[in-house]
Amino acid sequence: MIAIIVEGVSGRGFVEGIVDRLKITCRVRLMRGNRPNKAVRLIKSVSVLREINKIICLKGLHAQDENKIRDKIRRIMEEIGEINKVYPIVVKKSIESWVLAGLYNKRDAEKIADPIRELNTLLMREGRYYIKSYDFSRRLAEMIDLNKAMRNSHSFRKFINLLKTR
């Protein structure tokens, strides 16, 4: 079974929507805040479960510098040490970028500076607005075209490939 560490409730909603579509069982754990220590504690605790053979850690890039995020991930990996089943993914730039890639076929989804604003703008054209919540994100995960999202977002493709491989 796979464990997935996400940054918040909307991330959890999106991820659970995706894994349900792929009929994959997993355990999702929430990381509150942006502290590497929190991720380390979650990874170490979920790794004690015998049924977990892979831990995917999703870290949003948001508006931050990619080198800083990669440095943060490197520190997390150093801290967890002996646990070799951890696969970090830098989400570019956030879960909303994956929605833009899969729902609106945005080819440059990973390069859009403010994916939340962009998603909200596009939804407003359809008479809706974006609510960052578990239910709404899960619904978006059910609606996106997985193939388009994989084609338009390298980080989403990496995530799906990790989910599908043993």
Binding site: T25, V28, V46, S47, V48
Partner: protein, 42 residues
């Protein structure tokens, strides 16, 4: 419904989380414990 944490299937993971220096409330928030249904997401 009241369940003893020590008798729940989450206990191993919660114990490790606390040993690493975190607190019970965070374990609940992080979804490590507190599910009414034991078959949660599996």
């Amino acid at each position: 419904m009241v369940r003893r944490l020590s008798e729940s299937r989450e206990i191993e993971e919660v114990r490790r989380f606390l040993e690493e220096g975190d607190i019970l409330g965070e374990a609940w928030y992080s979804d490590i414990m507190g599910h009414l249904n034991d078959s949660y997401n599996s």
